[in-house]
Point group: C2
Chain length 248, copies 2
């Protein structure tokens, strides 16, 4: 058990789906949980393991992934502060994919049963959690389309746009300039490309002055053109007016 505010980022995110009553608030903050600080590049969940806890990210970055025959890795989603990860794994009983940190990350572990209980004792919270998992699905669908039917430049631009908007909505950074918490290999594993080709493609975006970079920091020089290049329409993120309400 630890500082209850570890669940605040999650609470804010759920509140997007509708006002929560004081009782809902109380129940959410009273959720039993264990806060752990995990170093960069560590596993939070291993594929195939039995999951009894769900986790919420308090700070830092993590990703979900699968390994295919031959050993290649596909990254399925990037997660940041407030994200509820692993509800899938814990509710369905076993982990059909792994979760690993990118940076040092604070993770709150919540027992599965406590989540099911709050969902049905507090229907407003339950519905918000349900919608949260549906948005998760929406992002997965966009990624299928991204990887399946777009070329390298479009894929990468799309990924950068998604990352930028989510950073902003989470209140962790600005839309146009931030520190990339991942290597070019990670970017490749997100987009189904090799790190070599990511390098080429990043260089291309830079030459065309859509972005600029120095070491890991990325600046979007022209949001409109990058969004066009990435065939990016933020609707699938279901952020709504979240940028305004959450970032303050």
């Amino acid at each position: 058990m630890s500082n209850p505010s570890a669940l605040m980022p999650m609470l804010r995110k759920l509140e997007y789906w509708g006002a929560l009553s004081p009782s809902d608030h109380g129940a959410l903050l009273a959720l039993p949980h264990t806060l752990r600080t995990v170093e960069a590049r560590q596993h939070i969940v291993r594929e195939g393991s039995i999951a009894t806890h769900a986790c919420v990210i308090r700070s830092g970055f993590a990703f979900r992934y699968k390994i295919v025959a031959g050993g290649a890795r596909q990254i399925l989603a990037i997660h940041m502060s407030g994200d509820f990860i692993d509800l899938q794994n814990s509710l369905l009983g076993f982990a059909d994919h792994g979760v690993q940190t990118l940076t040092g990350t604070e993770v709150a572990f919540i027992p599965r049963d406590a989540i099911v209980k709050i969902a049905f004792d507090h229907p407003t919270v339950g519905l918000a959690l349900w919608k949260d998992t549906l948005v998760d699905g929406s992002v997965f669908r966009e990624w299928i389309a991204n990887v399946g039917r777009r070329d390298a430049r479009t894929r990468l631009s799309h990924l950068l746009c998604e990352f930028a908007l989510r950073l902003e909505a989470t209140g962790v950074g600005q839309r146009t300039s931030w520190e990339l918490p991942m290597t070019q290999e990670h970017l490749g594993d997100c987009t189904g490309l090799t790190s070599v080709h990511i390098n080429r493609t990043l260089k291309g975006l830079e030459q065309d002055e859509l972005i600029s970079r120095s070491s890991r920091s990325v600046t979007i020089e022209n949001w409109k053109r990058l969004a066009e290049a990435g065939d990016f329409d933020s609707a699938y993120l279901h952020l709504g007016e979240a940028q305004l309400t959450i970032t303050q």
Copy 2:
């Protein structure tokens, strides 16, 4: 309103997650719904539309898709009898993807509010619905990995294996021999390939005697080898023992 048994396939599927009480049964079958018969190749839901109803497939086949810049289509999922589609679209308010039929299909439309109500009045049903959306997500994740990190032959074999197992679990067909309800172009749009390359790849699988075909009917000649070729592990489908209990 129409024949209540239109919801039976859904009920069986939900029951997989745990016994439902007589009261749960009653409430499910009493869900208000409209049954419509939709011809092959028709839209059930258009991308961008406002969704107020969710739908359940009683018979036939449908698919979800997105169109990317340039007009290419990516199929996101194939659906069959008992599948709950469009919960995403209706709960989140608008359709971030379209749904179209492959064959003639009977679809039951259920008002969104009725679904939310039953989920919280009958927590067992609500939990089953929630898990159903989580399995949906699990399949999306596998598709991301399939399209992102596998070659054409592996992708296609994987898709055929998935289709076979789900047909069997749904009780609509056998695992080893069935009628493909889609064209090679559809197969391409599932896997992020062109129909030309699907044709080449199917031919390859046939030459290697993993499958055989005549017109649209597919026979899996060697399940084990096809599953190997497709890097296929059915765990992500979360069918459990469903093959046994549902197909009877």
